[in-house]
């Protein structure tokens, strides 16, 4: 039997001595779409940062494809990426932003891949590739940030309220691009959102979080 993509056991995270996340057991299968919902401060972002290997848990173990993640974070961050609600764009052109993840991986054919990634999020490369970050609207900046992550074809795409501050059209494009990545590349998606309707529509399972715990799982 194949190991799940993520296996979390007895994972806890504390900030200033306070337990902000307590997950006794969680498995996320490869290729799945998992939704996470819950009120502010319920531990959703803390969980995503652990899944993105940006933080190490205070206690417990996170396994990725059957192997412990401890000490492998740098390697795993090349396969897992996180997009937040207000992402940071680098002080370079749109193409420079989208190309960054490819360059740090030493991938070739950058121009073609950046064009494809921009097109995937509904941005015409001919119009947008040379723009600076201050020449983008909020929705366009979010789509550039998503393109920056899709360009290197991640195994896992973690989305932290990716459409919360977007207009309807931009939100639809972000959602569509994420779903395309899953269908085309087999990218697993973990999506934090307050939009329960959307989560239940797309997800294989929705985790409802409360006070740092998974209070309910809706399938």
């Amino acid at each position: 039997m194949n190991a799940p993509l993520y296996r979390l056991r007895a994972v806890t995270q504390t900030h200033g001595g306070r337990v902000v996340l307590d997950v006794p057991a969680l498995d996320i299968p490869a290729g799945a779409i998992v939704g996470i919902t819950g009120p502010n401060g319920s531990g959703k972002t803390t969980l995503l940062r652990l899944l993105a290997f940006l933080d190490r848990p205070t206690g417990g173990e996170v396994r990725f494809k059957g192997r412990p993640s401890l000490g492998r974070e740098r390697e795993l961050r090349r396969r897992v990426t996180l997009l937040v609600q207000n992402p940071y764009l680098l002080r370079r052109s749109v193409r420079g932003n989208v190309a960054y993840g490819l360059k740090v991986r030493g991938v070739g054919n950058i121009r073609e891949k950046t064009d494809q990634a921009l097109a995937a999020v509904g941005l015409d490369p001919a119009r947008f590739a040379d723009r600076a970050r201050h020449e983008l609207s909020g929705g366009e900046a979010q789509r550039v940030a998503l393109a920056s992550r899709l360009a290197f074809e991640p195994t896992v795409l973690l989305l932290d309220e990716p459409t919360a501050s977007l207009d309807g059209e931009s939100a639809a494009l972000v959602r569509q691009a994420a779903m395309d990545a899953r269908d085309r590349l087999g990218t697993s998606l973990v999506v934090v959102s307050h939009d329960i309707g959307w989560l239940t529509e797309i997800s294989d399972a929705v985790l409802a979080m409360e006070n740092g715990r998974i209070a309910d799982t809706i399938r």
Partner: protein, 231 residues
């Protein structure tokens, strides 16, 4: 009032006619200032970056020291450099006194804390989302450092321009270490001081105009870069 206007007219004549003595001072000023800024950047960017980026014991004390150095009086820097490079000083044999390299050393000491402090501030003021963004895009620790340095480029340019503005208008180091030797180490500021004391008002005004143009240009460039860097 008449003699001021007359001095201004003569100053314009000196500048337009390309008066060799006037342009010698401008040339020495440009050479010493640019070399000092280049040296300050070479020596100061990495420590400034580390001061803003890294966490280490004594960081606060180091920052306080660098900030204190910003207000170091230029005549004292001149005095210290003089003590080291004068014939009786530990570096006396190197023949640096009353030379352009000697002046560059003094001006570098003036510019260095500005580069270090402003580079550190630029790094500290970077967006807190930068590091997690780079990590989640797959950057290695060295790639994170290199990209963070690149993201600070406008701040470093700003530091260089601020340091240039201070170095180019400095008089104490140039006078004490350079000795104000005509055709050799005379700069705009030392020439203004000397020519004015001799009653050669026109050259003082001519050089003063050049200095003001440089200072305004630096300030305009700083403002423009600040706007760019905030985008």
């Amino acid at each position: 009032m008449e003699y001021i206007l007359d001095g201004l007219r003569q100053a314009l004549v000196l500048l337009v006619s390309g008066d060799p003595q006037t342009f010698s001072a401008i040339q020495v000023t440009a050479i010493t200032s640019l070399l000092a800024i280049a040296a300050s950047l070479g020596l100061g960017v990495v420590p400034g970056f580390l001061l803003g980026y890294a966490r280490f014991p004594g960081k606060r004390a180091a920052r306080t020291f660098v900030d204190s150095m910003l207000s170091f009086p230029t005549v004292v820097i001149g005095l210290l450099v003089y003590a080291f490079i004068s014939r009786r000083g530990p570096l006396g044999d190197m023949g640096l006194l009353y030379s352009v390299p000697g002046m560059v050393i003094g001006l570098t000491i003036l510019g260095l804390p500005i580069i270090v402090a402003l580079t550190a501030s630029a790094v500290e003021n970077l967006d807190a989302r930068l590091r997690p963004t780079l990590l989640t895009l797959g950057a290695s620790p060295w790639q994170v450092v290199a990209t963070t340095l690149w993201e600070t480029r406008f701040g470093i340019m700003l530091a260089a321009m601020a340091a240039f503005g201070r170095v180019v208008s400095e008089v104490g180091i140039a006078m004490i270490v350079g000795g104000n030797i005509k055709w050799h180490t005379r700069t705009i500021t030392t020439a203004i001081a000397l020519e004015t004391s001799k009653g050669e008002f026109a050259m003082g005004i001519a050089l003063g105009l050049v200095l003001m143009v440089v200072a305004f240009a630096v300030n305009i460039a700083v403002s423009a870069f600040r706007r760019i860097s905030e985008k």
